[in-house]
């Protein structure tokens, strides 16, 4: 378990996260600008446009997340939705709970 006075892991310090964002931004800019040098062969016209991959990737993801969000309004149910109310115990919500780490080596190998 986490210790309260455990120092923050270097990867999750705000300074590191800021640096990661800056680095990510530079990489993003680089892969778009690189298209000035590297020729992307378009198969259907539009996909050869400058930065098409970047825009297409971003917009598609945006659409998919929004569609998922909208569908979620209709489709999402509480996680015990299908549980039988008269089932005896447990409902087995956690598939992995039957395997506890104490039963580790079983056949002595």
């Amino acid at each position: 378990m986490a210790n309260q006075d455990e120092p923050l892991h270097w990867l999750v310090r705000p300074a590191t996260i800021r640096k990661l964002w800056i680095g990510f931004g530079i990489v993003l800019a680089a892969v778009v600008l690189a298209q000035a040098v590297v020729y992307i062969k378009g198969y259907f016209g539009v996909d050869a446009w400058f930065g098409f991959g970047a825009v297409y990737g971003f917009v598609c993801c945006l659409l998919m997340v929004l569609v998922a969000k909208l569908l979620g309004l209709v489709l999402k149910r509480s996680q015990d939705y299908y549980d039988e109310p008269d089932e005896d115990t447990g409902h087995g919500q956690d598939a992995g709970q039957n395997v506890s780490s104490t039963e580790e080596p079983r056949n002595g190998a």
């Binding site: 690189a34 991959g53 970047a54 569609v67």
Partner: protein, 569 residues
Amino acid sequence: MALEMLSPALILLLAAALIGVLKGHARTAVVLVAPLLTLWAVWQIPDGVQGTVKFLSYYIEPVEGGPLRRLFATVFAIMVFVGGLYAYRVARWYELAAAFAYAAGAVGVCFAGDLITLFLYWELMALFSTIIVWCGGTPAARAAGIRYAIMHLLGGVVLKVGIEGVVVGTGSIQIQPMLATDFSTWMILIGILINAAAPPVSAWLADAYPESSPTGSVFLSAFTTKTAVLALILLFPGEPVLVGVGLFMVMYGIIYALLENDARRILAYSIVNQVGFMVCAVGIGTQMALNGAAAHAFAHIIYKALLFMSAGVVIYRTGKSKCTELGGLFRTMPLTTACGIIGALAISSFPLTSGFTTKSMISQAAVDENLVWVYMLLTAASAGVFLHAGIKFPWFVFFQRDSGLRPKDAPWNMGLAMILFAGLCILLGVFPELLYPLLPYPVDYVPYTAGKVLFYLQLLLFSGLAFFVLLPLMKRTETISLDTDWLWRRAATALIGLVERLLQFLGEFVARGRVRLQRFSQRIAVRYLGQPHTADREERGVFARSWPIGTTALWIAGLLSAYVLLYYL
């Protein structure tokens, strides 16, 4: 019977039986050696039919070799070996035995030379995969296993109906390319597509796989759907319906994975997504497309098993599988995190991973056939894969907030299994020429051109940007998402309840009417016939009273006159 007519599947079947009998080191030896023996046996089978056996009036071909069959059998054998290595210290003996018998079914399908043999091994898979689901051990796993079995036995019946129709119609039990043109070929196609988790019954996959044990889901992820892909390549190459079905599966997988909270269920939905790519490729049906489908299946089995392994280690160590309960595990599980990330990059077809060198063949096939919309949708889906599996899975399991969990990293055997598969993901990504000669058709494809790599980097990295920008929209909720299985898990039971209530109402109505009728007739009876014993004449029923003799005479006279009158009329 000659030796070459014995399928390599029998080695795994024998091993499954031995696993039940043996204990300790001997069992471990069987678990680790049998898959390697199978792999060796797979490569001993020359191309073509290896002999026939007469069964009833049919000529059965138990073993037929070929590059495509060998490719699938190879990856299945590798999968059993690494899966066995991953599982053998944790899994119960009956789970291991079932996994080996299940794999035997898959390998058997690979080499089945006729439809009857194919069907037998097909059902073997259904049977033993159900047992693996049940090995989850929870009441939820038991219920999901029953639903899984019903779905697969139903699929088996549909397939059988189709096979019998084809045998009656053509007189041939040969496995040969066909198109879904009549009832029986449609039945075969539907039977296979049920195993491929195609709509409208995709739900069985995400329902059953995440309920199995951490080790069981590794095996489950590999065989059923990919055997279905092989069967599609063998039986329905170029079937136009499959393009649409595949594209639907691709999008379905992404959307549902985005909504999902359970880590293994995210991976289960992404199986549907990835199989959608393959199904679509089979639908395109050119040599490039079929090569792509086969290569993608090969790579997919490896990286999907790797992802399920890393999720399995997390569940094994923490007992939790929900994104809302996990997070920050990278601190104490660096190996599992690294392997999970490699699997995630491979599934997103990042350059230098096996996904890039295989999945891009399918896009190329769409380009070659000038299918603009298919290409555009597949490209969008590639971005979506990075979104839902490539980042979402590792991010929510290993990073995001600190859940406070500090589990130990993977046990050595699980770690070794993950390293082997992670290595394979990169090896096939860096040296695709290792895989390309194994494909069924000659490969004329260069995966790495500067333009293509740059295009995919733009696509994927900006999908990554979209993920982090849209993170507030993707806050995990403790929910499940309804699927078509709602129809038989809820709507059907509700309908039955409704009919039950209706019948009950009808029964009550009839019962009430009967009681009323009874009372009414009793009243009538009492009125006319009743109570003859009472002394008081007025209390007796009308016909039970004592009447004066004169009244009787009058009645008789009246009746006689009426009779005479009628007689003369």
